[in-house]
């Protein structure tokens, strides 16, 4: 028993022993109602089919259908493409940006930082709309600038390949600054003396980068790789607003396919199956990344 509750007879029910439960209660109630219950219910739904507006038990039917669904695999492939191309480009740019910001040679630090980090606050819909206008084939600013250096108009959103490039550009614009913030914080924990000692030993800038900066960034890189992977696997907003999954399903992502099945065709059973497949994928890949990158640190 704590001294406080002994010495002062409190009428309140919030004592040192009950306090954590009282303080946690709202979160726990909300968590059970709006997270745990949906997780469980969603799993049940994935085992049902819709018959005349009612859900009927269907066993593994939806999962079998999923494994034979070419559109699901197309969405998976599209997502994997973004993951393998966009995430490395973005993270490399973010490392470069963080190294630049960490340099004592940089001037106009505050202004530059603001410029690079401003896209973070932009809502996904807002920037989807903005990019779809910028990338307009005939009148968009991007093609006009390219035209200035003699490049033919690019069908950004109308061609399957370029539509993917557009999504990649938009994502990179939006999230590079966010990752750079994380790297910058990690870099500032790397002792300057390490660089000075390496310089004295005759190591050039590139060798200092490879042998000091990169190893120092390791925990932050692991974190950003995992976060970007989770974000990419759940990708929805950008293709929804920029390309609506098209053209020819070239930018259909798993998140979009789930949305289409659940809220356009109202096939809740199948939508839940896709959701669980996605959850499994995210868990497996995050786990693998932690094992691969997390070792030795």
């Amino acid at each position: 028993m704590s001294t406080a509750t002994l010495s002062v007879r409190r009428r309140t029910i919030v004592t040192k022993n009950t306090a954590p439960y009282v303080f946690l209660a709202p979160v726990l109630i909300l968590f059970v109602a709006f997270k745990l219950y949906p997780y469980v219910y969603s799993f049940w739904l994935s085992l049902t089919r819709s018959v005349g507006g009612r859900q009927e038990f269907a066993g593994a039917e939806n999962y079998v259908r999923l494994l034979q669904d070419p559109l699901f695999f197309k969405a998976l492939g599209n997502t994997a493409l973004v993951l393998l191309i966009q995430v490395p480009i973005m993270l490399a740019l973010a490392v470069a940006l963080a190294v630049g910001f960490n340099s004592t040679l940089l001037r106009w630090r505050g202004t530059l930082r603001l410029a690079f980090f401003l896209p973070i606050v932009m809502g996904l819909v807002a920037y989807g709309i903005l990019f779809s206008t910028l990338l307009n084939t005939q009148y968009g600013l991007v093609n006009w600038v390219l035209g200035g250096v003699g490049i033919e108009p690019v069908p950004w959103l109308g061609d399957p390949m370029w539509a993917r490039v557009s999504i990649i550009l938009a994502l990179t614009w939006h999230y590079t600054g966010y990752n750079a913030v994380i790297y910058l914080a990690q870099l500032q924990t790397v002792p300057r003396e390490l660089y000075e000692a390496a310089s004295t030993d005759g190591a050039g800038p590139w060798r200092r980068f490879v042998h000091i900066t990169l190893p120092g960034l390791r925990p932050a890189i692991l974190l950003t790789v995992v976060l970007s992977t989770i974000g990419t696997l759940q990708l929805f907003d950008e293709p929804y607003v920029l390309t609506n999954g098209g053209p020819d399903n070239a930018t259909l992502t798993i998140g979009m396919y789930l949305y289409q099945n659940g809220f356009r065709y109202f096939d809740f059973g199948y939508a839940s199956t896709i959701a669980y497949a996605l959850a499994l994928l995210v868990a497996l890949i995050s786990f693998a990344q932690f094992r691969l990158l997390g070792r030795r640190s």
Binding site: T3, A19, T104, G140, A185
Partner: protein, 297 residues
């Protein structure tokens, strides 16, 4: 993972020991090169935002003309007027403001309580509860969409504010952020308060919270931005135009047959103003918030 000292305050302020002393012509050249490269990058990042603001001051016809508009026009107020009068955008802005404000206060309160319980108390089930809440960060939000939709359908809550507010009140990142920050509160402070006969509730709100203004600010920015920009769930739960939030209203505007891009970009510009103001005023806290959530084990 390596534990990193939590970076606090001005993260990208000039590093501790500037090497100003040996400043020769070579150093000046390096300063110029680095700053110029970073400035060009910043210009590329800011260009879309600049163009968005410019385009919002032109008519749709002017926006889709060649060459593209690069200087301010005079159609902004007309765009805004038609957006509010003809499209009911004012209602969406009011909805968004109300929802984001209430959400920030209530979710902030709930997350603070939970973070405090996790940081400063030992109790049965603590590890499991915290692990479960953090696991939701890895599970895709899409898993919950269908069940949440059904819950709202049962309660007849589609098109209501509570449908948008309730499911995300227990914001895992917010709980994590508050826990991380409150771990730094010395136990002696709490013990001293208890000996003085301070109740548990007053201990939190009168003694602990006033010392964590920066974390509370970071949490508030996070919650406000997350709710202000939230798209998928409002898109599903809000069916009638009167209940739309800004992102849903913008997406609907883009979806209609003859989109007026002057209107649309004016709306987009308006939509990022609150977020940009919050960001500019509290930039320091925002960055610190990303960091305390990110660069720890």
């Amino acid at each position: 993972m390596t534990t990193v000292a939590p970076p606090r305050g001005r993260v990208s302020a000039a590093p501790a020991a500037p090497l100003r002393e040996h400043r020769g012509p070579r150093t000046t050249a390096k300063v110029l090169t680095l700053t110029a490269v970073m400035a060009i990058g910043a210009a590329v990042v800011v260009a879309p935002l600049y163009w968005m603001v410019i385009a919002s001051t032109h008519t749709s016809a002017e926006i889709f003309s060649s060459p593209p508009v690069l200087l301010p026009g005079d159609a902004f107020w007309e765009n805004l007027r038609s957006l509010v009068v003809d499209r009911g955008f004012g209602r969406a802005v009011a909805n968004s403001f109300l929802i984001a404000a209430v959400y920030t206060v209530v979710a902030g309160f709930v997350c603070t309580l939970a973070g405090y319980a996790f940081a400063k108390f030992e109790f049965r089930g603590k590890g499991i509860a915290f692990g479960l809440i953090m696991a939701t960060l890895v599970i895709p939000a899409q898993v919950t969409l269908v069940p949440l939709f059904q819950i709202m359908l049962w309660f007849g809550w589609l098109d209501t504010y509570q449908a948008i507010l309730l499911p995300n009140l227990a914001f895992p990142f917010g709980i994590f952020l508050m826990r991380q920050t409150m771990l730094a509160v010395p136990d002696e402070l709490l013990a001293a308060g208890r000996i003085d006969g301070c109740g548990e509730v007053r201990l939190l709100f009168g003694i602990v919270l006033p010392t964590m203004r920066p974390a509370v600010a970071a949490l508030a920015i996070y919650l406000f931005l997350a709710q202000w920009n939230d798209f998928v769930w409002p898109l599903i739960a809000l069916r009638s135009p009167d209940s739309y939030t800004v992102p849903v209203a913008l997406a609907a505007l883009k979806g209609i047959g003859t989109t007026d891009y002057g209107q649309l970009l004016a709306g987009t510009t308006v939509s990022i103003v609150p977020a940009a103001i919050v960001f500019l005023l509290l930039q320091r806290h925002f960055v610190a918030g990303i960091l305390s959530g990110a660069v720890k084990e």
